[in-house]
Amino acid sequence: MRGGRSTLGAFTAMVAIALACGAPAVAQEKYPDKPITFIVAWPAGGGSDVSMRLVADAASKKLGTSVVVVNKPGAGGALGHKDIASARPDGYTIGMFSNGGIAAQYNNPNANTIDELQPIAFFGEDPGAISARVETGFKTVPDLITAAKASPGRIKNGNDQPGGSSFIAIAVYEKAFGIKVTRVPYQGFAPTVVGLLSGEVDVATVPVPDIIEHHKSGKARILGVAATERHFMAPDVPTFKEQGLDVLYGSWRSIAGPRGMPADRLKFLEAKFLETLRDPEFVARAKAAGFAVAPLGIDDTWKRWKADDVAYYPILKEAGLVKVREKN
């Protein structure tokens, strides 16, 4: 018998029985002896949900107990992060923390700060990118920069709401390239892509997986990716660095828990999640779904959180998004 909650009754029971051989849960006193709740602060079906369900599924086997994904969307992730941070630190409630949580610290008075969460492992990063409508004629990022400098504010960029990852992306690029564009907000990547294809905006800062099919079909063109390496889904697209522009930006996902978990359980979780994230079968699966996996342990994850906290602050400040917890 698996100890987990079944999903959709009788039908899942069959799947569960089929899996039961893979996950025998003998009654043990040691951790973990019951299912682990994994909170995803985003709605089901999005990139965060899909990636974390893949992780939860693979980690269930390594941890010897089922990892149950619970979606708790709302307030830009703040509601779900709160559930993680305020959970009993017994290692049975963990979840995902992504870079959206960094911005939330400063514009949502109820959001948790990164100090209130315990990093467990780093999942990976979706590098920032910028794509253009084919009709603009832009083939490279320098083409865009030249045009933007010729008439500041005339080029329109599609991005998400202020504080969102594609908003921060365009803010970072504007600053680095010394250009000014009109930021046009959309609610999510899919509507942004529609806006780009319908000619409403000229460029858009959506991540590679969201636009790759349109890049391949020739309706849009990815001008560059803000990473150290080319994106595995778009090997034909050069990085910003290759185009002589020294800018890095990415939105990342990590696994986190509440502060104050027992050291042995924390170490155990770190080890098992790293094992999961390095499992070639898992990596292949994640890659097929469009996720690049780049595992890091507790200390490096924390360093990354801190680094982005420092890097985003001035950008948020400039965009008028620092409303609470001002830094000096």
């Binding site: 987990g4 909650r5 079944s6 959709l8 009754g9 899942t12 299912p35 149950v68 619970v70």
Partner: protein
């Protein structure tokens, strides 16, 4: 409550009040310009429209007169509302089963009286059916009682 306060006057007053409350609650929101509208632009426009329409509706009620407001009965209103609130308060603390039970028990006070024995059988049967159906059948991630999932 027959009298001067007919349905149109009351409805108009309600719209005026809602609009005014919205204007007050949103007084700090920035309005911006048509080219770069602030978060307060549309809410303020809507609230002003509400106030204006409310006045016209109420004035119509005063001039033309309108149907009298029906009597309010407090009992169903009170117990139905409390039943839902009780569910909300209990479910987070004690889980689904107690919440459903409490909600059913409170709700029955809103209707005509049910004999105690019948009520007990009905409440327990419905609770069991609902908990089994939702937690086990549909796999809802809600504990039946704290820490227990089906």
């Amino acid at each position: 409550m027959p009298g001067r306060l007919n349905r149109d006057v009351a409805a108009g007053a309600l719209f005026v009040l809602s609009g005014a409350a919205g204007l007050w609650a949103g007084r700090t929101l920035s309005v911006g310009t048509p080219e770069a509208m602030g978060e307060g632009y549309l809410p303020r426009a809507l609230c002003l429209a509400l106030v204006a329409m409310g006045i016209v509706i109420a004035a119509g009620g005063v001039i033309r007169g309108g149907a009298a407001i029906e009597r309010w009965t407090v009992r169903p209103l009170f117990f139905v509302t409390v039943s839902i609130i009780a569910f909300a308060l209990v479910v987070g603390i004690a889980g689904l089963a107690p919440a459903v039970l409490v909600a059913i028990l409170v709700a029955t006070f809103a209707g005509e009286p049910v004999p105690i024995a019948t009520l007990a059988v009905f409440a327990l049967t419905l609770t069991t059916a609902v908990v089994v159906g939702f937690c086990w059948g549909l796999g809802l991630a809600v504990p039946v009682v704290p820490g227990v999932y089906l």
